[in-house]
């Protein structure tokens, strides 16, 4: 445990290595990082990396979660021992939470992190003085340079054998005010606890503690009222008292630097947070990230695609021609390829975003954009969610949890899915070629790259516009704060960045992967089977037409396949919705893809692959090439003309076509109302946006 930016997660990664697991805390979707650390002689311990917090008087829901767990001694993950990580360069502030945890009487080892930095500044650490005050073991460490990690492990190992008192402070740091004695003793007695500070936390937070029954909460509220207990002034007094108790100790423990000298951080921030250069630099960084995604991700994506195509035709060559071969190749394998192909982009984006987080740049971005975001009814922290939405709205919506104010958080959740996510990339990739030729603009920019940029901008404009609307519509609730730490710039720790990247990739593969593969299988079924009579007629019709036209081989099979899919279940649904989407320039095949990609946008490409590859002997043709050859049977014109492709692109920019996002929104907001709002407002934007685009362009 520790404050944000204490180096806590770095230590966690160091102790557990890759032996860690990401899950969610029960009932909420705060990320729960647990891991196993070997601390010597076959002794393994389970470690939890709790979200960072500044005090037990929390403002964000992540911080609140920690308080809820610590208030409930019977909680499954109530810690046996806390490894408290404090930033030694700012020891005084980091002692606040530690003193509160000690008053809860939880065993603790106090690690002074960044000991290497302190030594570099020629400052000394008086471990003895701090250990005397805290009366728990104190170890100066560095999670960056691996300093004293073995000492820390040995101390943890010792916890098993020694008296718990070695890790406890017998006397509370903060005293209970005499006027609260009665309240505290009533609460202690009813809840059968001995700890004064825990009882005080019940008095402060009774309403938000999930382990209390409704009756207990009502009783608490009444007692708090009778005792005339004012929570906020009490919090201020308590915090001030704590600082008074340990300020002098903190100053004694770490010798102060003589004078404040301009640091690297100051020099960097003179430029990076400059009023004009700062924002320009930020957009430069964002542009670089997206360019990196598109240039570097192309190669592995091509390998994955061609690999799956080769595997498909390989399987076909030695497996019998039967329904289960079709299922395997056109259903399972196609779906799996559609999942794995996103890994490069998600990996690159999250690697870069986590590097920005690691270095401390992200909080500068929050500082610079808080004012702007406020105008749209969002928080400066929303910028992180909006940027993360560039990969996937799901982690972005979850990351909105650090926003303390409910209205700003809800607004961020509602508009984040409008930012173009990685699942839209394959759709854009397939379609953008129909609108913009693959040529250079001004000699350096790729025309299609600029079109991509345009689509992203459209998403951003849509998101901010909608945010403005929701700012007017949503009810305000509670206070909104910025109050943010701007940590010193640090070189990123690659291991942390890679672990974040790995987590995001596996979350996507496990979360979205199942949906994509199952939809791919369902689709294969819908596109392969239909009412038997209609299918028989379609086959016969196709055969006679092909003979009439004198077609043979592939052309003949394609024609029959075209007739058959029209008669299939998928064709039926597509045709049913065709009248509604005709004004947008879409035919029934696009209709099928629109319908199936409500499960996840990337299914669009899988659907197109399934629809167009059925009956074709040529498996290697890319989806795009196949689409380019599609002719409208009524007019003889190409189906994917620029107007249709543009209309479809705009539809995909705006439409809420992601079941997983809706599920996460439900989970985060606790009601189906908000995913429904999200679905309908985005759907309306998409329908009318596409309608406008198609009618203007055709």
């Amino acid at each position: 445990m520790g404050n944000p930016n204490s180096g806590k997660s770095t230590l966690f990664n160091l102790l557990t290595g890759l032996r860690q697991k990401i899950s969610n805390y029960p009932g909420v979707t705060v990320e729960k990082k647990t891991g196993t650390a070997n601390i010597g002689d076959n002794l393994d311990v389970d470690i939890i990396d709790f979200p960072g917090l500044y005090s037990l008087y929390p403002t964000s829901s992540e911080e609140k979660l920690v308080v809820k767990i610590l208030a409930d001694k019977a909680n499954d993950i109530y810690p046996d021992l806390i490894i408290y990580v404090a930033d030694g360069t700012n020891l005084e502030r980091h002692m606040l939470l530690a003193s509160q945890l000690l008053d809860l009487h939880i065993p603790m080892i106090f690690a002074i992190n960044m000991a290497d930095l302190i030594a570099e500044e020629k400052r000394e650490i008086n471990v003895q003085a701090l250990a005397e005050f805290l009366s728990v073991p104190v170890i100066p460490i560095s999670s960056r340079s691996n300093l004293n990690i073995d000492v820390l492990k040995a101390e943890v190992a010792l916890f098993h054998e020694s008296e718990t008192s070695r890790y406890l402070r017998s006397e509370a740091v903060a005293t209970i005010q005499p006027k609260l004695y009665e309240l505290i003793s009533i609460v202690k007695e009813r809840h059968g606890m001995v700890n004064d500070y825990r009882a005080l936390l019940y008095a402060h937070h009774g309403n938000m503690l999930p382990h209390l029954t409704a009756a207990e909460r009502i009783l608490l509220a009444m007692e708090v009222k009778v005792a005339d207990f004012a929570s906020l002034p009490n919090q201020v007094e308590e915090t001030m008292e704590r600082y008074q108790k340990f300020s002098s100790v903190a100053k004694k423990v770490i010798s102060k630097p003589l004078d404040y000298k301009q640091t690297w951080t100051d020099r960097i921030d003179d430029i990076v947070t400059h009023r004009v250069i700062g924002p320009l630099l930020f957009f430069g960084v964002m542009l670089l990230i997206f360019q990196a995604m598109f240039t570097f991700a192309t190669y592995p994506m091509d390998w994955i695609e061609s690999g799956f195509a080769a595997a498909g035709s390989g399987l076909r060559s030695f497996m019998p021609e039967a329904w289960y071969t079709d299922l395997l190749v056109d259903g399972v394998l196609a779906g799996l390829g559609g999942v794995l192909v996103f890994i490069p982009q998600i990996a690159i984006l999250f690697l870069l975003i986590s590097i920005l987080e690691e270095t401390g740049y992200m909080s500068r971005a929050v500082y610079m954009f808080d004012g702007l975001m406020q105008r749209f009814g969002l928080s400066g922290r929303s910028i992180v969610s909006l940027v993360s939405s560039g990969a996937c709205a799901i982690p972005a919506i979850i990351s909105a949890r650090t926003i303390g104010n409910w209205k700003e958080r809800l607004n961020t959740i509602l508009v984040s899915p409008l930012i173009s996510c990685s699942a839209r990339i394959p759709v854009y990739t397939v379609l953008v070629g129909f609108v913009v030729p693959d040529t250079k603009v001004w000699g350096i920019f790729n025309g299609q790259g600029l079109a991509f940029m345009g689509l992203y901008l459209l998403g951003i404009v849509g998101a901010l516009g909608s945010a403005l609307l929701f700012k007017k519509l949503l009810k305000a609730d509670g206070e909104s704060y910025l109050m943010l730490e701007l940590p010193q710039y640090k070189p990123p720790i690659w291991k942390n960045a890679f672990i974040t990247m790995k987590d995001k990739v596996s979350e996507f593969v496990v979360g979205a992967g199942k949906i994509i593969i199952s939809i791919s299988i369902v689709l294969w079924f819908l596109a392969s089977y239909g009412p038997s009579e209609a299918m028989r007629v379609a086959t016969a019709d196709g055969e006679s037409q092909a003979t009439e036209l004198g077609l043979s081989g592939t052309e003949r099979e394609d024609l029959i396949a075209g007739k058959k899919i029209e008669a299939s279940y998928a064709g039926h649904v597509g045709k049913f919705i065709e009248p509604a989407i005709r004004p947008l320039g879409f035919d029934w095949k696009i209709g099928i893809a629109l319908m199936t990609s409500f499960a996840a946008r990337e299914v669009f490409v899988g659907t197109m692959a399934t629809i167009y590859s059925i009956g074709s002997s040529d498996d290697e043709m890319t989806v795009r090439d196949r689409m380019a050859t599609q002719i409208n049977p009524a007019t003889g014109a190409k189906v994917y003309n620029p107007a249709t492709a543009l209309s479809l692109l705009i539809f995909y920019v705006f439409a809420m076509q992601c079941m997983s996002t809706l599920a996460v929104t439900k989970q985060e907001t606790g009601s189906w109302k908000w995913p429904a709002v999200q679905f309908f407002y985005m759907g309306a934007l998409a329908y009318f946006g596409s309608l406008l685009a198609y009618q203007l362009c055709s």
Binding site: Y54, Y57, T59, D266, D370, Y481, E485
Partner: protein
């Protein structure tokens, strides 16, 4: 307001002062937990691009607060 109280928001860029007290209790709890204490020296380093957030140096550390939050911190 009858008495003109100087707050952090009245500082000029580069100017330093000692914190006196906090007007808003909810803000105070958060500020205290970030290490912003009465009697601490605070320097306004710069204002944000749109002028509604402040980049402060408190002791040897940096924090960002909104101007609306800055007006709740009075100076000596």
């Amino acid at each position: 307001m009858t008495v003109a109280v100087r707050t952090i928001n009245d500082l000029a860029a580069g100017e330093s002062a000692l914190i006196h007290t906090f007007i808003d209790e909810a803000c105070a709890v958060r500020l205290l937990s970030l290490g912003v204490l009465p009697q601490t020296q605070v320097t306004l380093v710069r204002r944000s691009p749109l002028g509604d957030a402040l980049y402060l140096r408190v002791g040897s550390h940096h924090i960002a607060i909104r101007t609306s939050e800055a007006t709740t911190i009075t100076l000596q």
